[in-house]
């Protein structure tokens, strides 16, 4: 059966949503830039585990996210425990991450490229799962991973001027499609650009769930939705506030 069929949905689902979700699931199953398909699906499974993880709940309640809270993560994958910890923190307590923490967790085996791709998998899984949860749908089963090796592709023009991870400053071929013709590219779009496919996936999902990236600064964009742009921005602001997100 096709993924994201929504055949029993009591609500009319716009076709661009399941199309974007199917695209995301396909990419999730494929080898990425730094992780294999199997590893990417395992990362996604840990996103789901994190939401029922007692250690994460206790740690979120602690004064410091790095407090010595006892316990083990609710984990089912064969990923290294340090990677599981990264996924669980990104999922359940992202606003209290620090640059020194990231410096500690990165290594030769877990590079900033692995980290950026991990963020991409976490947010892809979470944004789709959240949509399902909000509408009372069961979560879509994770895709079966595809064989193959990660590409280990590093784009030209990376710099460390902004944030904690390298980002593309000026997009050159073959990354010209990431933000074509944009006068000002918001940091949140550039953030994952050391893994260009992560930005491409972000754009696909954002166009379906929010508005196309190029239209974000245009307050008239989003006119084809059943809610107004003001309502869209109100929801966006409320989600950000609950997540303690300054950005």
């Amino acid at each position: 059966m096709q993924a994201f069929a929504y055949s029993n949905s009591p609500y009319p689902i716009r076709p661009d949503l399941p199309e974007a979700y199917r695209d995301a699931w396909q990419q999730l199953a494929n080898p990425g830039t730094w992780w294999s398909g199997r590893e990417r699906v395992a990362l996604a499974q840990e996103v789901r585990n994190a939401q029922g993880c007692e250690l994460c709940a206790n740690r979120k309640a602690a004064l410091s996210p790095f407090a010595d809270v006892e316990g083990r993560h609710l984990a089912t994958s064969k990923l290294p425990s340090s990677v599981v910890d990264v996924v669980h923190r990104l999922t359940t307590d992202p606003s209290r991450l620090t640059p020194s923490w990231l410096q500690e967790v990165t290594s030769e085996a877990f590079t900033s490229g692995h980290y950026v791709e991990t963020i991409s998998v976490v947010v892809t899984t979470l944004c789709i799962d959240t949509f399902h949860r909000s509408l009372g749908f069961d979560l879509e089963p994770l895709p079966a991973p595809h064989d193959g090796q990660p590409s280990v592709y590093v784009p030209e023009g990376l710099n460390n001027d902004t944030g904690w991870v390298p980002m593309i400053g000026q997009a050159q071929d073959p990354e010209q499609d990431l933000w074509p013709g944009a006068r000002m590219v918001p940091n949140v779009i550039k953030a994952l650009s050391s893994v260009p496919d992560a930005v491409r996936l972000l754009k696909t999902l954002s166009a379906a769930q929010y508005v196309p990236m190029a239209d974000v600064p245009n307050p008239s964009a989003g006119g084809d939705r059943a809610i107004s742009r003001a309502q869209i921005e109100f929801i966006a602001a409320r989600v950000s506030a609950i997540n303690d997100c300054f950005y």
């Binding site: 959240t130 929801i235 609950i242 300054f246």
Partner: protein, 147 residues
Amino acid sequence: MLLRVTSEIDDQTPNLKSITQGKDVVSGVAHGELLSELVELTLDQHHQADSLATTRQAISDAMSPEALVDAAAVIGNFQRMVRIADGTGIPLDKPIAAMTADMREELGYNDFESAKNTPPVNRLLAWLAITFRPLMIKRMTAQRNRG
């Protein structure tokens, strides 16, 4: 910022406190309280399925089933964006940081842990940006109306 601009286009004045304080504060946005409730229940770790179902029905009745789907999609989208921002430690983009300095102060955003990722805005620059903000909003609104 975008909330303020887009609300003015709809001739509404949002109560920014409803962003941080939730459904119990009148939002000034059409059906804002219902939408806020949907956000809160969707993100609630205790998964109050019955309450969420009631809110879904209320939105479907008061707005439309299509509106409910669009709202759920936006919630999903911003679960993504906040993690990208906080996971990569990016600062708020400079023009936005200057134009929203007063709003962030008013809403207590500067107390968020992730506020450390954005350097303080030059006071003169912030004053200028905030002073000219209404003009900019008018320009954006006019642009929209022309469109």
